[in-house]
């Protein structure tokens, strides 16, 4: 029998972004909250300090701040008839482990999704007709509009001290003409521009596009957020993604949100605690708490009146499947909801090499230091005759020049030997990379399930990911990559190399940690797991607060939307649900 803890009002699975938001808001509203984090406590001081933080091998190669797959991983295959095999080491994506989760080692690129993305099915039908897409493009409306979410986007940007144009007290400067209406400007002015961003901007302007500085939660001046958290300005050290920020400049839960939960006597954080199951009463249709393995290795039951799944994106639906909650999605019948509409991000890129010594100085970087155009995201251009929905932004980011991973050479250079080495020496300071950061639409074959051939350290079956790039997303990616190639050519380099989307998605090379879907929100329990408030259709006191809720992933980094959704859900919990628990949407 598991060891039984004293009941609490709320138990949170995880202690990353969404758990920090819910933990703070619910504790301050007077509810007792326990957050269960599988990793360790981590704080800016002393854990993220120099010189140890500036160690590429430890952090980018050996993944010091990330998930330990020897304990918990998933298996992977490209299509349902293939045999899935375990992800034996990290590669394609890098979930965090430890307090703060993946928002410790993110880059800080803080985008909003476009209004059209929240009602993508209706938007596509209205604009291009019902026969524009095949029935394999299983996009759907979120049940939530941009207008409803907008105040929470703004609130989250103020929590993070996000910088960009327009900003409070600012007098203009180029901004994103293709975003939805905003109620408030960014709280801080944009980042400085790097040389690579300048070269991109010149070329994009020449071609008639609309370049602007990327919205960044690498804070650009001394800043205090609405809770009283203090930030210091970004130092452009070039150790951002994969690293904790030593400067209190990158918004993370421990800088911006979590201290206010930890300061509240209603909030308790338990680290080294792996949640293995959500317990529920099938008759009463309520969750009763969670079972976890604690820091001593004991199995423990934590009873709670409300359970919120706040783990990294795909862990939430996998935990639901392991617990037997809801109907698992079946790709054969296309029925069931848990695991359905897993999506990702469709990434390609252009490398521009200059033969003269440009001194781009790639090491002078920051996670969200970049110049972008948004002319080719979903709502920005006409898809008539193109046969796909979605889009991508194109950006020149200057995040880092850490040399184990960053040593670009033109296509056709040998992979090793003298010629390779000489090309590395020649082009390290004279190359600019453009990313094509594309949307990901769902496909009936792409989903999360369970793999009973492999188990994790606790004896649970591994989650199983089936994913490949869809036809829709291939068309999109090739279309926007060609536009990026034209910009690259206008930048005047001696070599302009396109890296097109791979034939198949691979779990091996790093692409992005933007895993989305699998426990999606929607208007209908037959095609979604949670309603517009992120409340489970099956168990009204189970809430699933993660990027797993996105019915499809837009061509932007997902954290801005995730932060907004977390505050939206927290507001609903505090002001509606906790006062009168029960289903908030009736069908």
């Amino acid at each position: 029998m598991p060891f039984r803890m004293k009941p609490v009002d709320v138990v949170l699975v995880g202690a990353g972004l969404t758990a920090s938001v819910l933990g703070k808001e619910l504790a301050e509203a007077g509810h007792t909250v326990v957050a269960l984090e599988r990793g360790r406590m981590r704080q800016t001081v002393p854990d993220f300090q120099s010189p140890a933080m500036h160690d590429e091998l430890k952090h980018s190669i050996r993944h010091a701040l990330m998930e330990d797959v020897s304990v918990q991983t998933l298996s992977f295959r490209n299509f349902p008839s293939q045999r899935a095999l375990p992800m034996r080491q990290l590669g394609s994506f890098l979930p965090g482990q430890g307090v703060g989760g993946a928002m410790v080692h993110w880059n800080g690129q803080t985008w909003r999704f476009q209004p059209s993305w929240f009602r993508l099915r209706s938007w596509a039908n209205d604009k291009y007709g019902k026969n524009f897409l095949s029935d394999e493009v299983t996009i759907q409306d979120w049940g939530l509009t941009y207008e409803e979410l907008e105040p929470y986007y703004s609130f989250f940007e103020h929590v993070c001290g996000t910088s960009g144009n327009p900003y409070k007290g600012g007098s203009g400067g180029p901004s994103n003409p293709f975003e939805g209406t905003r109620s408030q400007p960014y709280p801080n002015p944009p980042m400085k521009q790097s040389y690579s961003g300048y070269l991109f901007e010149q070329a994009a302007n020449k071609l008639g596009y609309h370049p602007f500085p990327v919205p960044s939660s690498n804070v650009t001046r001394h800043y205090t957020n609405q809770f009283g958290a203090e930030f210091k300005p970004c130092m452009y050290c070039g150790f951002c993604e994969d690293y904790g920020c030593e400067h209190f400049a990158k918004a993370s839960p421990q800088v911006a949100i979590l201290p206010f939960a930890l300061a509240n006597k209603n909030f308790e954080l338990r680290t080294e605690s792996y949640v293995t199951r959500v317990n529920f009463d099938a008759k009463a249709k309520v969750a009763t708490g969670v079972t976890y393995v604690d820091a001593r290795g004991r199995e423990v039951f934590q009873p709670a009146s409300l359970v919120a799944l706040c783990a990294f994106a795909h862990h939430n639906p996998i935990l639901m499947l392991q617990s037997g909650i809801g109907t698992p999605y079946d790709p054969k019948t296309r029925k069931g909801t848990v695991g359905r509409n897993y999506t990702y991000q469709t990434i390609s890129g252009i490398d521009v090499f200059f033969d003269d010594d440009k001194h781009i100085n790639p090491f002078m970087g920051a996670g969200a230091l970049g110049t972008a155009i948004n002319d080719f995201n979903n709502g920005s251009f006409d898809h008539s005759g193109l046969g796909f929905v979605g889009g991508a932004y194109i950006a020149a980011y200057q995040t880092n020049g850490r040399p184990i991973q960053y040593h670009p050479v033109p296509h056709g250079t040998p992979r090793w030997g003298l010629k390779w080495k000489q090309a590395v020496a020649k082009y390290y300071g004279s190359a600019v990379h453009l990313i094509v950061h594309g949307s990901s639409t769902p496909h009936p074959n792409n989903y999360l399930g369970l793999d009973r051939n492999y188990s994790d350290a606790f004896g649970n079956p591994l989650g199983m990911l089936t994913f490949d790039f869809s036809y829709n997303d291939r068309l999109m990616s090739n279309f926007v990559t060609q536009k990026a190639q034209e910009i690259g050519q206008a930048m005047g380099g001696s070599h302009v190399d396109a890296t097109w989307l791979d034939e198949h998605y691979s779990i091996v090379p790093y692409q992005t940690t933007h895993n989305t879907g699998g426990a999606i929100m929607g208007e209908n329990p037959t095609t979604s797991v949670v309603n517009k408030y992120l409340q489970s259709w099956d168990l009204h006191n189970l809430w699933v607060v993660g990027a797993c809720a996105y019915p499809q992933n837009d061509g932007y980094n997902p954290t801005g939307t995730l932060g907004a959704l977390a505050f939206w859900a927290a507001d609903t919990l505090v002001n509606k649900y906790m006062r009168n628990p029960g289903p908030l949407v009736h069908t």
Partner: protein, 265 residues
Amino acid sequence: MGRFSRRDLLRTAGAAGAAAAVTHVGESRAQYAPPAYGEQPQHAALPRQPGHPEAATASPIHNENVLFFFNQDEAKFVRAAVDRLIPADEKWGGAEAAGVLYYIDHQLAGAYGAGARMYLKGPWQPDAPYEQGYQLKYSPADLYHVAIAEIRHYVRKQHGNKEFWDLSSDDMDKALKAIESGEAQLSSIPSEVFFETLLANTIEGYFCDPAYGGNRDMVSWRMIGFPGAYAQYVGLVDQFGVNYTREPLSIASSYVRMSEHKQHG
């Protein structure tokens, strides 16, 4: 815990036993004097740079040319192979001079070699498609042992019983290409999987912080112009095309960095 039983001693995780450690704590404490602020710690693993003031103060006890993992033959193979992957040219040393052999040896002797943070449970599928990633049963350490033995066998068969490290540079490159493409058929592993591991570890050892035993004299950082572990470029990032010429900085030079911070406020 107040009680200390013999039974508890036997249950330590991968350590030699707490009792021995306890008796030594006092001794080592007595001998260890922490460096004053701004002073080099005596045990720092510093890159030797001719003419650099740190070279003279480094402890003679620290010897970065120790092999913990490879036997002599394995070391000969790795030394020769990594220097073909990243050879010397007239200006910049190659992987051998950069200490890549010792970097890889030390990595394989530790957690990385043992497969820490890898999921290594069976069943395995060694012929899995590339997209599904590494699917061998071997930890990195075991992979090196098995692969090097089988590659040496392959090379001896191809080259009249000659070892890899006795071949001409051209023949070494040809052998490496056969290993890279999978054309070199080994009995226990797909040769290309080992090749990719060796290439990745070689690049790590050539470009890593010199504190790890590779990138000696910060040769690769000087070659490309990467300054290392500095903590800020806020005043330079928007001055386009600056030729940045400051001496690169290792994480092992933290005391240097800290005293600089002090000067600059």
